[in-house]
């Protein structure tokens, strides 16, 4: 930054808003995510010019237009690849990928897998509404079996993908799940994602008011959610329920729901360990689905692993140190040469 510019004042969430009118449907879960994102960015104090939001196609992918940062609203499914190229050459930037269940897992599934396995130091936020909203209501790769949509009038017959299982299968170093209306939890997850070094993957249960309203009611309804979700806390036993009277116990390799009391104590329960080197526990948690289990929310996994951008730039630095900065004329003459008089 140029020295004669005044020191930047502390930014507020409103400072991160762009001039563009926000055009999601009234009541869309995306508004809450945008609001929490601005709050987190202000909280972290990241200068606006250091931020780049990259998205694909879909309702969620309009996100970058609404932030006064750098951004690319790219093409369907390709945001992780765009982000990879950018981060590879500009490790100084804070790079965010905003995607959805169709964009990220259907047309862009391949890029998502490879981006996560490479562990670039970027943040991926996937808005999961289990439907195609922008194309007006077809089923998505996360729509449950049997879901009736415009393109599945007799019900969806393909088995849904469970996003976090996929991310953990790719050995993501940071995996979290949160819910659009649970704003403090959402904010915590975004902040943890931003602070993590490596690819952070956050799934947000996001309600589509028009085409799939109430898809996550079990996880959002104030009366129901403590029975149907389980807030993960590192080092704490897996307890849930309005009265915190139920927990998850391991039975062989399978989790089971148990009622606390009658000789069952918290000591019998599975204890969350987000730093476990092996992803097995995180995977097991990602397989717990409503209605058989409470669905875990929070940070599933947060471990350290070398980052692609760091390794790439380290190779460049190592090559320069070993061979010296490239000399083109020497390179051109490095094979057999001869002189014509």
């Amino acid at each position: 930054m140029s020295a004669d510019l005044p020191a930047p004042a502390k930014l507020t969430p409103a400072d991160y808003a762009s001039a563009q009118d926000v055009r999601w449907c009234p009541g869309c879960g995306d508004y809450a995510i945008l609001a929490q994102m601005k709050k987190v960015l202000a909280n972290l104090g990241i200068p606006k010019e250091k931020l780049v939001f990259i998205s694909g196609i879909g309702c969620s992918s309009r996100f970058p237009y609404y932030l006064d940062t750098y951004g690319i609203h790219s093409i369907h499914g390709r945001a992780p690849a765009v982000a990879t190229g950018l981060k590879a050459v500009r490790p100084d930037l804070s790079v965010w990928v905003i995607t959805g269940d169709g964009d990220g897992l259907s047309i862009g599934g391949n890029h998502l897998l490879h981006c996560i396995r490479r562990n670039l130091d970027i943040n991926i936020v996937l808005f999961n509404n289990r439907i195609y909203g922008l194309t007006k209501g077809q089923y998505s790769p996360t729509s449950p079996l049997g879901q009736v949509t415009k393109s599945t009038p007799m019900g969806a017959i393909d088995n849904p993908l469970h996003i976090l299982s996929v991310a953990i299968g790719c050995e993501a170093t940071f995996v979290a799940r949160t819910v659009d209306v649970h704003v403090q939890h959402l904010s915590m997850c975004l902040q943890r994602a931003a602070e993590h070094r490596g690819t952070s993957f956050v799934e947000v249960y996001q309600n589509c008011v028009v085409f799939n309203d109430g898809a996550f009611e079990y996880a959002t309804d104030k009366q129901l959610r403590s029975e149907h979700t389980l807030e993960l806390e590192h080092g704490k036993p897996l307890v849930f329920g309005k009265n915190r009277d139920k927990g998850i116990r391991l039975n062989g390799l399978e989790p089971e729901v148990v009622a606390l009391g009658n000789g069952v104590t918290e000591k019998d329960l599975l204890v969350h360990d987000e730093k476990a080197p092996q992803p097995s526990l995180a995977y097991l948690l990602s397989r717990m689905h409503y209605p058989d289990f409470p669905e875990p929310i929070g940070v599933f996994r947060a471990v350290d692993r070398p980052k692609y951008d760091e390794l790439l730039n380290a190779q460049v630095a190592a090559a320069m140190a070993k061979q010296g900065p490239g000399d083109l004329e020497a390179l051109f003459s490095s094979g057999d040469t001869w002189v014509v008089e």
Binding site: M1, S2, L5, P6, P8, A19, Q20, K48, E49, K50, V52, I54, I57, P64, Y65, D68, Y70, G71, I72, H73, S74, I75, R78, P80, A81, V82, A83, T84, G85, L86, A88, V89, R90, D92, L93, N110, H111, H114, L312, N313, V316, A318, A319, M320, K322, G324, P325, G326, L328, E329, L331, F332, S333, S334, G335, D336, T337, W338, V339, V340
Partner: protein, 623 residues
């Protein structure tokens, strides 16, 4: 390692007939595991080092190791060396080295009548013949009646040469190509020293391998010298190339080096995002080794990721380049649309091969021109340049990047398998001879006004504002943008304006490129108009026709979009325009549409380059 040495000629053997030639064409052919590409490359380097002009044509199957001894597995490498300027690897072969029956019968049609055939006689057992699908031995059935045939026990003699090194038969037989090379070096009076140096550099860590190859090479050479089978030796004198220091370069290597030079000249770091595909992968291999030049190579998960990663890198201020071949270009189409829409500078290199689909992936073709120009959705213009010969890739890469940054546009560069794998001498430029490439990025803005990412300069280029710059925050994207402000716009009138503007910007490049030149008469009977890899055969053909006094000229297009401003005028200076292309007439259709010139097509799609003879034959009816 730098070798600057005078060509070292062997002592001439006075007892033999020694024939001076202007040029010679030699082809090594054998199984794809027989080391024929290596043999050809070594003969090429050696010939270049003795001062010949050289052009090569490697020809290999798509299969890495097709079943041994079959016709499907034959790999060849043709070397044309001359004491004058040459532009092609030669139409016909003067000397053919065939390591087995399959190689012999598949390559024999290219040998000129009376030409030399050297065969490994040990590889013509009944079993070898059967594997090659032959009922009789071509050594005995009269197939070779009109050639000078030398049956040499290459396998046996190679094994003998390396006998006391303790190698297994398999390893010993791996040296057969060196024996064959040695024999060819003797026959064409080439020094063995450059190849001996290569052997030590390449195999120095495995002394037994180095020593066996050295012995095989010398055994082949001495065999030629001692045996009385060969009545003649041939010599090809040095060519008179323009003065300077030379090296020997393939098209893909020249492309990679051109990219490195362009990055250096523009002060940008090179980011090469790609997905492996024949015949473009060697660009990746070369660049991946050059990290000390600040190059970041990214082997993406697919072609789409490659092009979109390059868009990300371009947004970040790098020199973003992706390379591919036809099928990959199809996959990149949508991404290139985004690059056109976001008006970011980047390069897309298409090393064309015979298509459609997987087609013949190791064979050449020029059939991606339409795809390069039009293969995208929407009105999506971008500049398209084509390299004409291997060393030209170096210049085209730099020129493409100059246009990309000056006009803020993706630029598509066409090469082809013939250029990419072919090689020729290249006069090494000094970096100070090369024009710098100016790149500008706007500085920080602190007046609180929103930055205008689509405000344009006099060339209609928008600013290349980089993330990290305070005050220039902006959002690019695939949605249509309002001119100047860059706000999302669904306004029809604005879209019309932007479609026209993007077209005008690219068309305007015509004012910034050299006018089309011609070789030969400025007006007359016939103009042969070419583009890309047909340069060599056309340039040679017109010279041949000039010797006959024909009124024929050659114009070769480097710029396919936009065309040079004077092209229409050039075309009208001739009675007829002939357009040879390795496709079904793609440039011809364009020229007819653009200039209403009744151009004649001369087309083939055999996966092989034009021969000079074919171009001459195509021109003859019109002169």
């Amino acid at each position: 390692m730098i070798h600057e040495q005078q060509p070292c000629a062997s002592e001439p053997d006075q007892s033999l007939g020694r024939e001076e030639l202007d040029e010679a064409t030699v082809r090594f052919c054998g199984d794809s595991g027989d080391g024929m590409q290596l043999a050809g490359t070594q003969l090429t380097n050696t010939s270049a080092l003795v001062g010949n002009d050289v052009a090569t044509f490697p020809d290999f199957p798509a299969e890495i190791r097709a079943p041994r001894g079959t016709q499907a597995g034959v790999s060849g490498f043709q070397v044309h060396f001359a004491s004058r300027r040459i532009f092609t690897p030669g139409d016909q072969v003067d000397a053919l080295v065939a390591m087995n029956p399959a190689a012999l019968v598949t390559n024999l049609p290219d040998l000129r009548p009376g030409g030399i055939v050297i065969v490994d006689a040990d590889s013509f057992t009944p079993r070898d013949l059967q594997t090659a699908g032959l009922k009789t031995s071509p050594l005995e059935d009269g197939t070779l009646a009109s050639y000078q045939v030398f049956q040499v026990d290459i396998t046996r003699l190679t094994r003998l040469a390396v006998k006391d090194l303790g190698l297994g038969t398999k390893d010993a037989d791996r040296c057969r190509n060196f024996f064959a090379m040695g024999l060819v070096y003797w026959l064409f009076d080439r020094p063995v020293e450059p190849t001996l140096r290569f052997v030590i550099e390449k195999f120095g860590r495995r002394p037994d391998v180095a020593e066996s190859n050295r012995r095989a090479l010398l055994a082949g050479y001495h065999y030629g010298e001692t045996t009385e089978a060969f009545a003649h030796r041939y010599a090809v004198d040095r060519a008179r190339l323009p003065p300077g220091k030379y090296t020997h370069i393939t098209g893909n290597q020249a492309m990679a080096w051109g990219l490195l030079a362009a990055a250096r000249l523009s002060g940008c770091d090179l980011f090469y995002g790609t997905y492996p595909i024949t015949p473009a992968s060697d660009i990746l291999h070369e660049l991946a080794r050059r990290k000390n030049f600040g190059v970041r190579t990214f082997q993406a998960e697919d072609e789409i990721a490659a092009v979109t990663a390059v868009i990300g890198a371009a947004f970040g201020g790098a020199m973003g380049v992706t390379g591919t071949s036809g099928p990959g270009l199809s996959l990149k189409g949508e991404g290139i649309g985004l690059a056109v829409m976001t008006e970011l500078p980047m390069l897309v290199i298409d090393v064309q091969r015979a298509g459609p689909s997987t087609g013949m992936p190791t064979k050449t073709e020029q059939a991606d021109l339409n795809q390069a120009l039009f293969g995208r959705h929407g009105e999506c213009p971008l500049p398209v340049l084509a390299a004409a010969h291997p060393a030209d890739c170096f210049d085209v890469a730099r020129e493409a990047w100059r246009i990309a940054v000056r006009y803020m546009t993706p630029v598509l560069v066409l090469s082809d398998a013939f250029i990419a794998n072919g090689s020729e001498p290249w006069r090494i430029p000094k970096m100070s001879e090369l024009e710098p490439i100016e790149v500008r990025h706007p500085g920080p803005l602190s007046n609180g006004q929103p930055f205008q990412p689509y405000r344009r300069d006099e060339r209609l280029a928008r600013p290349w504002a980089l993330p990290g710059t305070p005050g220039l925050m902006h959002r690019l994207g695939g949605l249509e943008k309002q001119d100047i402000t860059g706000a999302v716009s669904y306004d029809g009138a604005n879209h019309q304006h932007m479609v026209d503007l993007r077209a005008r910007k690219v068309a305007g490049i015509a004012a910034d490129i050299p006018p089309q030149t011609v070789e030969g008469p400025k007006r007359g009977r016939l103009l042969i108009l070419g583009w890309g890899g047909t340069y060599g055969p056309i340039a040679t053909a017109v010279r041949r026709l000039w010797e006959r006094g024909a009124s024929v000229a050659h114009a070769h297009l480097r710029y396919l979009n936009p065309f040079p401003a004077n092209l229409g005028e050039v075309l009208r200076n001739y009675d007829r325009v002939l357009i040879p292309e390795l496709n079904r007439g793609q440039l011809r259709a364009l020229v007819r549409a653009e200039y209403l010139v009744d151009a004649i097509g001369w087309n083939k799609t055999t996966g092989r380059p034009f021969t000079v003879g074919e171009i001459v034959a195509g021109a003859e009816p019109w002169i």
